[in-house]
Amino acid sequence: MKCVVGIDLGSTTTKAILLDEQGNILGRGITNSRSNYSVASAVARDEALIAARFEILRRELEQLHISGAIAAADLREDLDGKFRLALYLDQLEMLRLEAGVLMELGQHQAASAELRPLAEAVLGDCVTDAPSMFERNARRKSDFFKDIAGASFMASLERRAGTGDTIYERLAAIFDRAIFNVEAKRLGFDFGDKLRWAISRTMAERDDLGAGDREALDSLGRRIGGLELEEVAFVGTGYGRQTLPFPKEAVRSEILCHGRGAHKAFGGTRTVLDIGGQDTKAIQVDEHGVVTSFQMNDRCAAGCGRYLGYIADELSLGLHELGPLAMQARKVVRVNSTCTVFAGAELRERLALGQSREDVLAGLHRAIILRAMSLLARSGGIVNEFTFTGGVCKNPMATQILREMVTEHYGELTMNAHADSIYMGALGAALFAMDDVRRGVPQLLPHVGAVAPSPFMEASCT
């Protein structure tokens, strides 16, 4: 099957969208942006490829009529979890190798005899803890390796060595660096191998599947595993054209991509607000989705997504926990400063004054949306329909306040914001890639070499 790829390299996350030749979405992929932009892009694309194949798997599973006690949707989730587990174990193996190299270097060398057994034990714990993290309905704080592995590793390390211990400090530093190194590489894997492992492991855990089911699943695994997705075109977008690791011809402005993506997703869209990690964009589009005007925050990134990131760090919360917590506010505290640099001081001052965390958080969300409203006004106001995109639209409090303020200033109008809004830039990029195919000038995502760890750790995971 032929497909085109759109990638949106943001300051916080990198998103990829895969479209078929008719422009239908095959898969979405997201990963944390990292210092190596090429790797981040390749990983997001790999994620989208996985999602595309799992989407096909989902459709086929529904046709299979499994006789066991499991619903097709649950079975798909189980397979997906096992598949993720397999990848995670590979990355843990890469982590083990990276940490091993670091322990033999310079300042750690003398202590390596002491460090090694502890490191192995901690990594062993990570492997042991892994299967439960990928079970159906298991709640993970994040889907990104650095977050999952980091949390798992630190939990084990705290159990095995006290936090005040020098060996604790030393190993924590080594693993921090090792995770960074793992992320700088693209994981090499064969989709078919991993899927077959996921299927066999799922079947081993379930005794309600009959022989017919098993045969059908095996056959499905072979078919989907062998499915060719041929990438015929690619367009990238993101912050700062100069720093994107793509050929110039394959780059489109993020303004155009967000406008076009939002218009594709919601055909009535005339105004788009995108709040990303480092910038906020207010975009007006015409009936074809072509941008007619736009405004972006210049010089100062106050009130962007990264601001919420700092607030989450200050409160030792996950980014996604902020919105729900703010929703529990009883009143909205007035906050005027949305400067990211001053965010911590502002927050601490409010808390010291005795205001509740929830109420302060509600105020911080309001302050961000106020900035966005000003930008929207500068771009020409809001016209029906209005679509909210970017990472911050996943935050329910931000969305709620925006909806209230939009209604207050512009009256009742259709406001589109759903979880997929984070992919709008990538979707727009993919649509541009389709244009390039039609015009006969397609570009491809530059190749990034992959590292496949060996030996395979899955065997040791029970």
């Binding site: 912050y239 700062g240 054209r241 100069q242 720093t243 489109r252 402005s253 993020e254 303004i255 155009l256 076009r260 074809h288 989705g289 072509v290 941008v291 007619t292 005007s293 736009f294 405004q295 972006m296 210049d298 010089r299 500068r378 020409g380 649509l431 541009f432 244009d435 039609r438």
Partner: protein, 433 residues
């Protein structure tokens, strides 16, 4: 040495022969300034909008334009240090950066662009043409130099026209206040015939400059009316209007431009002759000077040519019909000052920009908004929206500064411009597909 990210490419920039000629003229002027003590020429500091260069010249005095010094300091990478000096002396970060750059330069020895010391003023000639900061600027310089100020108050064109009373008010000031004070400093009486000769030469150069501006109607435009334009206005906005040097310069410039037009060539850019003209723009607002060539390249490399700009009209709207007239020396100087772009109200600015967009068949209006320049920036979003409504031509909006390199976010601005150009391209086709 500063650690700010500054334009590093000045040395490599390609230049027109007229630019080389201009450089020689400027060097000559700064030499005259440096030797003014020996030649006993009096030095008058004054501003570009509403400058009375013919009058200064007719009285044998030499003009110094602090705005030009400031922008040259910006281009020569000196402005960051100068602004730092001024801020050390207590000037707020929000003050016009031309002012701070000038004050910092003064406090650092007043060394001009040629390395020679710029003499202290014998007179501050404050022709006030719409920029309130000018008043404060010379108030500060008066304190520093302890020298006299003479003010020419130009009434603002609040209703979009120059009335007889406004004109008479300026003529009266010239006759009763400004000229007597200048005569006193110069130590001689104004010879009206000499002034008339200067005015006659001004008009001659102005004719050629207008021909240069209007060449941009041609496709491709043989000039860039903003980045190239700031060079074209150099002599006429500074010390040379009303001189034979300016007449010669504009004659040479005009023929250079007409030759390019005959060959169907675009303007010279920092990277050599412009690539294919893809977008024709009108630009509102002053340029950034600290990253001037980087800024220019963001346009020229994308095939964007500026066909007309308002900034290049701050020192006179010659293309709207005004010419210095030797038949009525005081009246013509009044008309000149009253008609500068900085003295126009918002509706007149909108009308003018609209006219440029239509006459030069521009694809877009780009606004470079300078936060520390209230005179230019106030109302710019309104201007943009109104022009979009009237012409359907899409507006773009970026923000930078005159000479403070801290306020030039290179990747931000480039990012906005890339988006803007891609938007223009899509708009030309009406849809993406």
């Amino acid at each position: 040495m500063t650690t700010t990210d500054q334009d590093t490419s000045v040395v490599e920039a390609r230049k027109d022969s007229s630019q080389v000629l201009q450089k020689e003229m400027m060097a000559d002027h700064f030499k005259k300034l440096a030797n003014s003590k020996e030649t006993r020429q009096k030095v008058v500091y004054t501003f570009v909008p509403g400058n009375l260069t013919e009058l200064i010249g007719a009285l044998g005095m030499l003009p110094v334009l602090p705005e030009i010094n400031a922008l040259q300091s910006g281009m020569r990478k000196k402005s960051a240090a100068y602004i730092g000096e001024a801020e050390k002396a207590g000037h707020s970060p929000d003050v016009c950066t031309y002012v701070k750059c000038d004050i910092g330069m003064m406090k650092s020895g007043n060394i001009g662009p040629t390395g020679e010391k710029i003499p202290e003023p014998d007179l501050l000639l404050l022709s006030y043409t719409g920029c309130f900061t000018f008043l404060k600027w010379f108030e500060l310089l008066r304190e520093e130099y302890k020298c006299p100020v003479v003010m020419l108050h130009i009434p603002y064109q609040a209703d979009g026209e120059i009335t007889h009373a406004m004109r008479q008010y300026v003529v009266d000031q010239l006759r009763d206040v400004v000229i007597p004070k200048m005569e006193e400093i110069a130590g001689r009486k104004l010879d009206m015939d000499v002034l008339r000769e200067h005015l006659r030469l001004s008009a001659k150069a102005e004719d050629d400059l207008v021909a240069v501006w209007e060449s941009a109607r041609h496709k491709p435009s043989p000039i860039d009316g903003y980045f190239g334009g700031v060079y074209y206005i150099g002599p006429i906005f500074t010390a040379f209007r009303g001189t034979t040097e300016a007449v010669d310069y504009y004659k040479a410039l005009r023929s250079e431009v007409e030759e390019r037009m005959a060959r169907n060539e675009g303007p010279m850019t920092p990277d050599g002759p412009a690539p294919e003209e893809k977008y024709r723009l009108v630009v509102e607002g002053p340029p950034n000077w600290t990253h001037f060539y980087d800024f220019w390249r963001m346009f020229s490399r994308e095939g964007a040519t500026v066909v007309s700009s308002s900034y290049t009209r701050v020192g006179g709207l010659y293309d709207q019909g005004f010419r210095h007239d030797d038949a009525d020396p005081l009246g013509t100087m009044a008309d000149y000052c009253l008609g500068c772009y900085t003295n126009l109200n918002l509706p007149s600015r909108i009308d003018l920009l609209q006219k440029y967009i239509e006459e030069y068949e521009a694809d877009g209006l780009l606004i470079n908004s300078v936060k520390s320049c209230n005179s230019f920036s106030a109302g710019q979003l309104l201007i943009m929206r109104e022009i979009q409504d009237r012409t359907g031509v899409p507006g773009g909006f970026i923000e930078s500064d005159l000479v403070d390199p801290r306020y030039f976010g290179k990747s931000n601005i480039d990012n906005r411009l890339q988006s803007y150009f891609q938007m223009l391209q899509a708009r030309k086709h009406g849809s993406y597909a």
